[in-house]
Assembly symmetry: C2
Homo-oligomer: 129 residues x 2
Amino acid sequence: MRLPKLSKLEMQIMDVLWSTGPSAIREIQESFGAKGRPAYTTVQTMVYRLEAKKALRRAKKIGNAHIFEAMISREAAQRRLVDEFLSFFGGRMQPVMAHLIEAGNLSPKDVADAERLLRDLAAKRKKDA
Amino acid sequence: MRLPKLSKLEMQIMDVLWSTGPSAIREIQESFGAKGRPAYTTVQTMVYRLEAKKALRRAKKIGNAHIFEAMISREAAQRRLVDEFLSFFGGRMQPVMAHLIEAGNLSPKDVADAERLLRDLAAKRKKDA
DNA sequence: TAGGATTTCTGACGTCTGTAGTAGGATGCG
DNA sequence: CGCATCCTACTACAGACGTCAGAAATCCTA
Protein backbone atom coordinates (compact mmCIF):
# COMPACT_ATOMS: atom_id res chain seq x y z
CA MET A 1 0.00 0.00 0.00
CA ARG A 2 2.88 2.35 -0.75
CA LEU A 3 0.67 4.68 -2.71
CA PRO A 4 -2.89 4.16 -1.59
CA LYS A 5 -5.74 5.02 -3.89
CA LEU A 6 -7.71 7.95 -2.56
CA SER A 7 -11.37 8.61 -3.18
CA LYS A 8 -12.76 12.02 -3.97
CA LEU A 9 -13.68 12.89 -0.41
CA GLU A 10 -10.33 11.60 0.79
CA MET A 11 -8.61 13.85 -1.71
CA GLN A 12 -10.61 16.82 -0.50
CA ILE A 13 -9.47 16.13 3.02
CA MET A 14 -5.87 15.73 2.00
CA ASP A 15 -6.18 19.00 0.11
CA VAL A 16 -6.80 20.82 3.35
CA LEU A 17 -3.64 19.41 4.83
CA TRP A 18 -1.67 20.14 1.68
CA SER A 19 -2.96 23.69 1.42
CA THR A 20 -3.33 24.74 5.04
CA GLY A 21 -0.82 22.48 6.72
CA PRO A 22 -1.39 20.27 9.79
CA SER A 23 -4.97 20.60 10.99
CA ALA A 24 -7.51 19.28 13.45
CA ILE A 25 -10.64 17.45 12.41
CA ARG A 26 -12.77 20.48 13.19
CA GLU A 27 -10.66 22.68 10.93
CA ILE A 28 -10.88 20.19 8.10
CA GLN A 29 -14.61 19.90 8.48
CA GLU A 30 -15.12 23.64 8.51
CA SER A 31 -13.06 24.11 5.39
CA PHE A 32 -15.93 22.52 3.48
CA GLY A 33 -18.39 25.04 2.16
CA ALA A 34 -21.39 25.39 4.46
CA LYS A 35 -23.52 23.79 1.78
CA GLY A 36 -23.09 20.04 1.58
CA ARG A 37 -20.60 19.96 4.42
CA PRO A 38 -20.30 16.45 5.84
CA ALA A 39 -20.92 15.85 9.53
CA TYR A 40 -18.01 16.14 11.92
CA THR A 41 -17.91 12.41 12.50
CA THR A 42 -18.00 11.73 8.79
CA VAL A 43 -14.83 13.71 8.34
CA GLN A 44 -13.41 11.99 11.38
CA THR A 45 -14.09 8.56 9.92
CA MET A 46 -12.37 9.47 6.67
CA VAL A 47 -9.40 10.89 8.53
CA TYR A 48 -9.08 7.67 10.52
CA ARG A 49 -9.19 5.68 7.31
CA LEU A 50 -6.56 7.88 5.73
CA GLU A 51 -4.49 7.25 8.81
CA ALA A 52 -4.90 3.50 8.34
CA LYS A 53 -3.78 3.95 4.73
CA LYS A 54 -0.77 5.88 5.98
CA ALA A 55 -1.75 8.92 3.95
CA LEU A 56 -1.58 11.07 7.07
CA ARG A 57 -0.64 10.79 10.74
CA ARG A 58 -1.18 12.37 14.12
CA ALA A 59 1.50 15.01 14.45
CA LYS A 60 0.75 16.33 17.92
CA LYS A 61 -2.00 17.16 20.34
CA ILE A 62 -3.40 20.55 21.24
CA GLY A 63 -5.69 20.43 24.22
CA ASN A 64 -7.43 17.13 23.73
CA ALA A 65 -7.54 17.48 19.95
CA HIS A 66 -5.23 15.68 17.56
CA ILE A 67 -3.49 17.58 14.80
CA PHE A 68 -3.04 15.62 11.58
CA GLU A 69 -0.43 16.08 8.90
CA ALA A 70 -0.05 14.62 5.40
CA MET A 71 2.37 11.76 4.87
CA ILE A 72 2.13 11.61 1.10
CA SER A 73 2.69 14.47 -1.29
CA ARG A 74 0.02 16.04 -3.40
CA GLU A 75 2.11 15.25 -6.46
CA ALA A 76 2.31 11.54 -5.65
CA ALA A 77 -1.39 11.30 -4.96
CA GLN A 78 -2.27 13.15 -8.13
CA ARG A 79 0.02 10.99 -10.21
CA ARG A 80 -1.66 7.93 -8.77
CA LEU A 81 -5.00 9.34 -9.84
CA VAL A 82 -3.82 10.19 -13.32
CA ASP A 83 -2.46 6.69 -13.81
CA GLU A 84 -5.68 5.19 -12.54
CA PHE A 85 -7.66 7.40 -14.84
CA LEU A 86 -5.59 6.55 -17.88
CA SER A 87 -6.14 2.86 -17.35
CA PHE A 88 -9.80 3.49 -18.15
CA PHE A 89 -8.72 4.48 -21.62
CA GLY A 90 -6.12 1.82 -22.14
CA GLY A 91 -3.48 4.52 -21.87
CA ARG A 92 -4.50 6.23 -25.10
CA MET A 93 -4.47 9.98 -24.63
CA GLN A 94 -6.17 11.09 -27.79
CA PRO A 95 -9.77 10.62 -26.65
CA VAL A 96 -9.00 12.19 -23.32
CA MET A 97 -7.55 15.32 -24.88
CA ALA A 98 -10.43 15.57 -27.29
CA HIS A 99 -12.98 15.50 -24.50
CA LEU A 100 -11.03 17.99 -22.44
CA ILE A 101 -10.86 20.43 -25.28
CA GLU A 102 -14.45 20.06 -26.34
CA ALA A 103 -15.63 20.57 -22.81
CA GLY A 104 -13.65 23.76 -22.76
CA ASN A 105 -11.56 22.56 -19.87
CA LEU A 106 -8.35 22.94 -21.79
CA SER A 107 -7.43 26.53 -22.48
CA PRO A 108 -4.90 27.78 -25.05
CA LYS A 109 -2.69 28.63 -22.11
CA ASP A 110 -2.86 25.05 -20.84
CA VAL A 111 -1.68 23.81 -24.20
CA ALA A 112 1.05 26.41 -24.36
CA ASP A 113 2.23 25.37 -20.91
CA ALA A 114 2.20 21.77 -22.01
CA GLU A 115 4.33 22.62 -25.02
CA ARG A 116 6.86 24.44 -22.91
CA LEU A 117 6.98 21.54 -20.48
CA LEU A 118 7.55 19.16 -23.36
CA ARG A 119 10.38 21.26 -24.72
CA ASP A 120 12.02 21.54 -21.32
CA LEU A 121 11.73 17.84 -20.83
CA ALA A 122 13.18 17.11 -24.26
CA ALA A 123 16.10 19.42 -23.56
CA LYS A 124 16.70 17.82 -20.21
CA ARG A 125 16.67 14.33 -21.65
CA LYS A 126 19.14 15.39 -24.34
CA LYS A 127 21.47 16.85 -21.74
CA ASP A 128 21.25 13.71 -19.61
CA ALA A 129 22.08 11.50 -22.54
CA MET B 1 -29.47 8.20 -14.23
CA ARG B 2 -29.26 9.58 -17.75
CA LEU B 3 -25.52 9.10 -17.88
CA PRO B 4 -24.58 6.42 -15.38
CA LYS B 5 -21.11 6.32 -13.94
CA LEU B 6 -19.27 3.24 -15.12
CA SER B 7 -16.51 1.44 -13.26
CA LYS B 8 -13.39 0.17 -14.93
CA LEU B 9 -14.69 -3.35 -15.42
CA GLU B 10 -17.96 -1.97 -16.68
CA MET B 11 -16.06 0.14 -19.19
CA GLN B 12 -14.12 -2.90 -20.36
CA ILE B 13 -17.36 -4.71 -20.97
CA MET B 14 -18.89 -1.78 -22.81
CA ASP B 15 -15.72 -1.60 -24.87
CA VAL B 16 -16.44 -5.03 -26.28
CA LEU B 17 -19.87 -3.91 -27.37
CA TRP B 18 -18.53 -0.66 -28.79
CA SER B 19 -15.72 -2.37 -30.66
CA THR B 20 -17.23 -5.68 -31.67
CA GLY B 21 -20.89 -4.81 -31.76
CA PRO B 22 -23.76 -6.72 -30.09
CA SER B 23 -22.39 -9.75 -28.22
CA ALA B 24 -23.32 -12.59 -25.94
CA ILE B 25 -21.99 -12.94 -22.42
CA ARG B 26 -19.67 -15.73 -23.52
CA GLU B 27 -18.15 -13.56 -26.23
CA ILE B 28 -17.60 -10.71 -23.83
CA GLN B 29 -16.00 -12.98 -21.30
CA GLU B 30 -13.67 -14.51 -23.85
CA SER B 31 -12.56 -11.14 -25.10
CA PHE B 32 -10.67 -10.77 -21.83
CA GLY B 33 -7.10 -12.00 -22.04
CA ALA B 34 -6.76 -15.53 -20.71
CA LYS B 35 -4.79 -14.16 -17.77
CA GLY B 36 -6.96 -12.54 -15.17
CA ARG B 37 -10.16 -13.28 -17.02
CA PRO B 38 -13.15 -13.03 -14.71
CA ALA B 39 -15.51 -15.97 -14.34
CA TYR B 40 -18.43 -16.25 -16.71
CA THR B 41 -20.91 -15.39 -13.98
CA THR B 42 -18.88 -12.39 -12.93
CA VAL B 43 -19.18 -10.93 -16.39
CA GLN B 44 -22.81 -11.87 -16.37
CA THR B 45 -23.43 -10.00 -13.13
CA MET B 46 -21.79 -6.88 -14.48
CA VAL B 47 -23.79 -7.12 -17.68
CA TYR B 48 -27.01 -7.41 -15.67
CA ARG B 49 -26.01 -4.35 -13.67
CA LEU B 50 -25.19 -2.43 -16.81
CA GLU B 51 -28.62 -3.40 -18.01
CA ALA B 52 -30.16 -2.00 -14.82
CA LYS B 53 -28.25 1.22 -15.45
CA LYS B 54 -29.61 1.26 -19.00
CA ALA B 55 -26.11 1.26 -20.43
CA LEU B 56 -26.98 -1.74 -22.57
CA ARG B 57 -29.99 -3.88 -23.40
CA ARG B 58 -30.98 -7.29 -24.72
CA ALA B 59 -31.17 -6.92 -28.46
CA LYS B 60 -32.22 -10.41 -29.46
CA LYS B 61 -31.82 -14.04 -28.69
CA ILE B 62 -29.77 -16.62 -30.53
CA GLY B 63 -30.49 -20.13 -29.38
CA ASN B 64 -31.04 -19.64 -25.70
CA ALA B 65 -28.42 -16.95 -25.42
CA HIS B 66 -29.16 -13.25 -25.15
CA ILE B 67 -27.29 -10.81 -27.35
CA PHE B 68 -26.57 -7.47 -25.70
CA GLU B 69 -26.01 -4.15 -27.36
CA ALA B 70 -24.82 -0.78 -26.05
CA MET B 71 -27.36 1.92 -25.33
CA ILE B 72 -24.93 4.70 -24.58
CA SER B 73 -22.14 5.88 -26.84
CA ARG B 74 -18.48 5.47 -26.10
CA GLU B 75 -18.11 9.24 -26.41
CA ALA B 76 -20.77 9.96 -23.81
CA ALA B 77 -19.33 7.45 -21.37
CA GLN B 78 -15.84 8.80 -21.84
CA ARG B 79 -16.97 12.36 -21.37
CA ARG B 80 -18.65 11.33 -18.13
CA LEU B 81 -15.36 9.85 -16.95
CA VAL B 82 -13.35 12.88 -17.90
CA ASP B 83 -15.72 15.14 -16.01
CA GLU B 84 -15.60 12.88 -13.00
CA PHE B 85 -11.84 12.83 -13.15
CA LEU B 86 -11.55 16.59 -13.39
CA SER B 87 -13.64 17.06 -10.30
CA PHE B 88 -10.82 15.44 -8.36
CA PHE B 89 -8.65 18.36 -9.34
CA GLY B 90 -11.23 21.06 -8.85
CA GLY B 91 -11.34 21.44 -12.61
CA ARG B 92 -7.81 22.78 -12.83
CA MET B 93 -6.03 21.23 -15.79
CA GLN B 94 -2.50 22.37 -15.16
CA PRO B 95 -1.52 19.65 -12.66
CA VAL B 96 -3.14 17.03 -14.83
CA MET B 97 -1.19 18.03 -17.90
CA ALA B 98 2.02 18.18 -15.94
CA HIS B 99 1.60 14.64 -14.66
CA LEU B 100 0.66 13.36 -18.08
CA ILE B 101 3.71 14.87 -19.66
CA GLU B 102 6.13 13.82 -16.97
CA ALA B 103 4.84 10.29 -17.10
CA GLY B 104 5.47 10.34 -20.84
CA ASN B 105 1.83 9.68 -21.57
CA LEU B 106 1.53 12.86 -23.56
CA SER B 107 3.54 12.87 -26.75
CA PRO B 108 4.49 15.90 -28.86
CA LYS B 109 1.97 14.64 -31.38
CA ASP B 110 -0.78 14.64 -28.75
CA VAL B 111 -0.03 18.26 -27.95
CA ALA B 112 0.10 19.18 -31.62
CA ASP B 113 -3.26 17.50 -32.13
CA ALA B 114 -4.63 19.39 -29.17
CA GLU B 115 -3.43 22.66 -30.64
CA ARG B 116 -5.04 21.95 -33.96
CA LEU B 117 -8.28 21.00 -32.25
CA LEU B 118 -8.20 24.21 -30.26
CA ARG B 119 -7.65 26.28 -33.37
CA ASP B 120 -10.48 24.54 -35.19
CA LEU B 121 -12.78 25.09 -32.27
CA ALA B 122 -11.85 28.75 -31.99
CA ALA B 123 -12.51 29.23 -35.69
CA LYS B 124 -15.83 27.48 -35.45
CA ARG B 125 -16.94 29.54 -32.49
CA LYS B 126 -15.97 32.71 -34.31
CA LYS B 127 -17.96 31.68 -37.33
CA ASP B 128 -20.97 30.83 -35.20
CA ALA B 129 -20.86 34.19 -33.48
C1' DT C 1 -36.20 -38.33 -27.25
C1' DA C 2 -32.70 -38.59 -23.83
C1' DG C 3 -28.58 -36.73 -22.12
C1' DG C 4 -24.78 -33.61 -22.09
C1' DA C 5 -23.68 -28.85 -22.81
C1' DT C 6 -24.76 -24.15 -22.41
C1' DT C 7 -27.30 -20.28 -20.47
C1' DT C 8 -30.02 -18.00 -17.37
C1' DC C 9 -31.46 -16.61 -12.98
C1' DT C 10 -30.74 -15.97 -8.04
C1' DG C 11 -28.41 -15.56 -3.96
C1' DA C 12 -24.44 -14.58 -1.41
C1' DC C 13 -20.28 -12.39 0.47
C1' DG C 14 -16.16 -9.22 1.31
C1' DT C 15 -14.33 -4.65 0.55
C1' DC C 16 -14.60 0.22 -0.04
C1' DT C 17 -16.97 4.62 0.46
C1' DG C 18 -19.90 7.85 2.44
C1' DT C 19 -22.78 8.77 6.12
C1' DA C 20 -23.54 9.46 10.88
C1' DG C 21 -25.11 8.33 15.85
C1' DT C 22 -23.67 7.39 20.57
C1' DA C 23 -20.99 6.91 24.71
C1' DG C 24 -17.57 8.51 27.38
C1' DG C 25 -13.41 11.09 28.52
C1' DA C 26 -11.12 15.81 28.62
C1' DT C 27 -11.48 20.92 28.94
C1' DG C 28 -12.59 25.04 30.48
C1' DC C 29 -15.55 28.52 32.48
C1' DG C 30 -18.35 30.57 36.04
C1' DC D 1 -16.55 22.28 41.95
C1' DG D 2 -20.08 21.34 38.47
C1' DC D 3 -21.84 21.66 34.14
C1' DA D 4 -21.87 22.71 29.23
C1' DT D 5 -18.97 21.80 25.47
C1' DC D 6 -15.66 19.57 22.58
C1' DC D 7 -13.18 15.68 20.97
C1' DT D 8 -12.25 10.81 20.62
C1' DA D 9 -13.27 6.13 19.88
C1' DC D 10 -16.40 2.83 18.46
C1' DT D 11 -20.26 0.97 16.02
C1' DA D 12 -23.45 0.67 12.35
C1' DC D 13 -25.42 0.70 7.86
C1' DA D 14 -26.52 1.24 2.95
C1' DG D 15 -25.02 1.25 -1.82
C1' DA D 16 -21.56 0.13 -5.41
C1' DC D 17 -18.26 -3.27 -7.08
C1' DG D 18 -16.04 -7.48 -7.97
C1' DT D 19 -16.34 -12.14 -7.17
C1' DC D 20 -18.63 -16.39 -7.90
C1' DA D 21 -21.45 -20.83 -6.80
C1' DG D 22 -25.66 -23.46 -7.33
C1' DA D 23 -29.95 -24.63 -9.38
C1' DA D 24 -33.14 -24.45 -12.97
C1' DA D 25 -34.28 -23.75 -17.78
C1' DT D 26 -33.15 -24.38 -22.56
C1' DC D 27 -30.85 -26.17 -26.55
C1' DC D 28 -28.56 -29.21 -29.61
C1' DT D 29 -27.21 -33.55 -31.09
C1' DA D 30 -26.76 -38.49 -31.37
